[in-house]
Symmetry: C2
Subunit: 458 residues, 2 copies
């Protein structure tokens, strides 16, 4: 039997599911519906397209060949009929269609949260999420040649765009309601990132609620709390995303965390033969051992792959996310995995966080740079809960956070991180990698904490 596997959504999760299904059963009939014309584009690459570092948007495609998979562009799914196992579709060219399925994957992604700002839909104001959005911004940059930009939001995308627009020679102001920038990492790192932004001429306003944008002759005027006032020609809004769950909800699917579609670790929705994956769905958190909402491209790929496996009859489970993330801002790389101190506290752990400053490689070999590591672990059990790293681009920061991610994946204690047999040569590390030295610093400093039962001495 060759199952008919219909996939709604042609971004990371949808295409990953299709590719994996095709690998498992090259005879399967696999169909992907996407609303726009851009299957499997790297949305994470948009800032680099807009900075000019990636001149041709076409190169943002993760792939352009989909052998054995029918990719239908300009096809918007409007309704799922669970009884008849069909999906109603509005196709740009062919009009209304009704497509049958044996197995259905909902991979409809997420949308930017609409800001609570008066008249944010004026010309020159943009949200950035799709290829189409980025074409609009690109066209505006070329045509209107904005001299000044305000970015609302200081998360990953906001700061990557601050970097990108500065790269283009635009004067940038970042306004964020958060206490510091990059709130996904501790404020100690956020403060350094703020300094880096300021060092590159970016004005940073935190604790600011942007409230109103008005058109004033040839420019926009942005105003907010704390007396924030800024003139500019371009406003980018990047204040988070929400799951596109409507299609699923209307088909009777359940939602969970933050309105995302409910799923188990096989990516089954609960409704027969319907699977969910990617930014529209919940994410199993490997450390918390429960579902949460953590929309990330890496997770979407993995969930999609698992959904493809489940739909084709394999028995695999999504192993779970640890919220591992990395961002490059100018010459600095900031990464995290697992839980921060405050998150761990909320989840009922007894967390303790130790920051260490270490050389990325032996100082006697030229070019050593400083790496800051923040290790969070549980005082009662000694178990690693999370880590944050900040260092220079080129200092292997991102793959070092991955060592912590691998340790978290296997529920290692902090002490056990020193047991890992990691590579060393003086131009690239030290006999104990910085990851291990930071772990050893945690173990030493935690000994003086009241509740620590030494995990060495047991």
């Amino acid at each position: 039997m060759t199952p008919r596997f219909l996939i709604i959504g042609g971004s990371d999760a949808g295409i990953s599911a299709a590719l994996r299904a095709q690998e498992i059963n090259p005879e399967a009939e696999i169909e992907v519906l996407l609303e726009d014309d851009f299957p499997n584009y790297s949305i994470c690459g948009l800032p680099f397209y807009l900075s000019g570092e990636t001149p041709d948007w076409r190169s943002l495609a993760h792939r352009t060949e989909f052998a054995g998979i029918s990719v239908r562009r300009g096809h918007r799914a409007t309704r799922i009929n669970r009884h008849s196992k069909t999906v109603e579709v509005e196709a740009e060219v062919k009009g209304h269609l009704s497509l049958p399925y044996d197995k259905l994957l909902i991979a409809t992604g997420a949308s930017p949260v609409a800001p609570r700002i008066d008249s944010w839909q004026l010309p020159g104001i943009f949200l950035l999420h799709t290829m189409k959005d980025s074409f609009a911004v690109h066209e505006y940059l070329d045509r209107a040649k904005p001299r000044r930009a305000v970015i609302v939001g200081a998360g990953y995308i906001g700061l990557e765009m601050a970097d990108a627009l500065t790269h283009r020679g635009i004067e940038v102001t970042v306004a964020s309601r958060t206490k510091t920038v990059l709130a996904t990492v501790d404020s100690e790192f956020g403060e350094t990132v703020r300094q880096e932004l300021e060092h590159h001429g970016i004005a940073v306003s935190t604790n600011v609620e942007v409230q109103r944008i008005t058109q004033v002759s040839d420019h926009l005027h942005v105003s907010g709390s704390q007396g924030f006032e800024q003139d500019c020609e371009l406003v980018l809004i990047a204040v988070g995303v929400k799951p596109n769950a409507t299609l699923g909800i209307e088909a009777g699917l359940q939602t969970g965390e933050k309105g995302a579609l409910l799923t188990n670790r096989k990516m089954e929705s609960g409704a027969p033969d319907i699977y969910v994956a990617g930014d529209c769905a919940e994410t199993w958190h490997r450390l918390l051992k429960r579902h949460t909402y953590l929309p990330l491209g890496t997770t979407a790929h993995k969930q999609g792959r698992t959904a493809g496996e489940t739909a084709l009859g394999l028995h695999r489970e999504f192993a779970g996310s640890l919220g591992t993330q990395v961002v490059k801002i100018f010459n600095r790389v900031i990464a995290r995995t697992g839980l921060r101190q405050d998150e761990a506290q909320r989840e009922g752990f007894r967390p303790f966080t130790v920051e260490s400053t270490l050389n990325d490689h032996k100082a006697y070999y030229p070019g050593a740079t400083q790496l800051r590591a923040r290790v969070t672990a549980d005082l009662t059990t000694g178990r690693l809960l999370g880590a944050q790293l900040m260092g220079t681009w080129g200092a292997e920061v991102s793959k070092r956070i991955d060592i912590f991610a691998a340790a978290l994946f296997h529920e290692m204690t902090v002490d056990e991180v020193s047991d890992l047999d990691l590579s060393y040569t003086p131009p690239l590390s030290s006999p104990w990698d910085p990851v291990q030295m930071a772990s050893q610093a945690w173990s030493l400093q935690s000994q003086n904490q009241p509740t620590k039962e030494s995990s060495c001495a047991r």
Copy 2:
């Protein structure tokens, strides 16, 4: 009770044991005996001192402060009296001493294997292992200003020295008895490294047994099998090391693999209150689950730390080595962990190796370079057995091998490597890290192998 912990050897293992013991019990009486004047110097840094990249040899010290530890320089241990629990010592200044111990660590390291070459002790011919050796080479480089060098041996040290001497403007010839250079990785990588060496003007002769060196007027003449003939002013010999086990053997300790001192995973020698660690001792191989001989600085640090813990009464075990190694040669980084195909075969696995070529990060972001990955895994179980990576300096090669090392540490299957939640941003990786794409390539290609029970489909 404050135990008296005596340590013979002041390099990686000895000092690690001392530091750890001091951490555990700041009151412990800890004494380290070292033959020379250079406690805890980075022997791995010698090539960079000789290349001129590290101008001051003093910066090669891993540390210069040993608070709470008595470090006795110029103290050569000559005999261990197990009955009286004393060590006989010849001290440079004080002459003969007899030092008592409660706990004793033998961390006497290794020595270069003497080559089977006629008259290899002529002036201008050097082995490179200690600080003293490197001073002699350095002095010779300054004084004799050699124009041409022959390096005998094409392992890590031989090739780092080929790089180093080329850096100084010396014409280098590498002669090795192995079929290709860098025999610790597969010949496919070795061939590329050979090309890299040749690209930098180094002559490489493989399958050559160097047999004779003669003094001819103002230079040396090196000759060997396959008609190898080369004039030069400097010969460096780097053909491996052997454990310094004599002191232990004379005290009645057992030896195992390759004549190294026998130990268990607590670094106990079998004789009461005597521990062994570092290059003089066997190494527990985590994957093979037996002892082997794998002298590496990283391992010496870990074994020393464990020995310090055991000696001070903690109950920890050396978690084991996976033979993780990395070397930088010119602008190329080559790394390995675990077993190669041939090693795995010998050990009774059913190994299969797949090579993939991948971008280190998304090609649309400037500066992407190619990474070659060789993944070895067992066809019957799907279990990862080893990995080798080669790429450009700066492409996070070394910390990528560490992700494989962490996977091996936890006995993951190749399929499970894709489950790791690794970091991604376009300038530094892709949504599936190259490590994961290489693993997925192995899984796909292994499906066509006769003996594979699909580890996905179970």
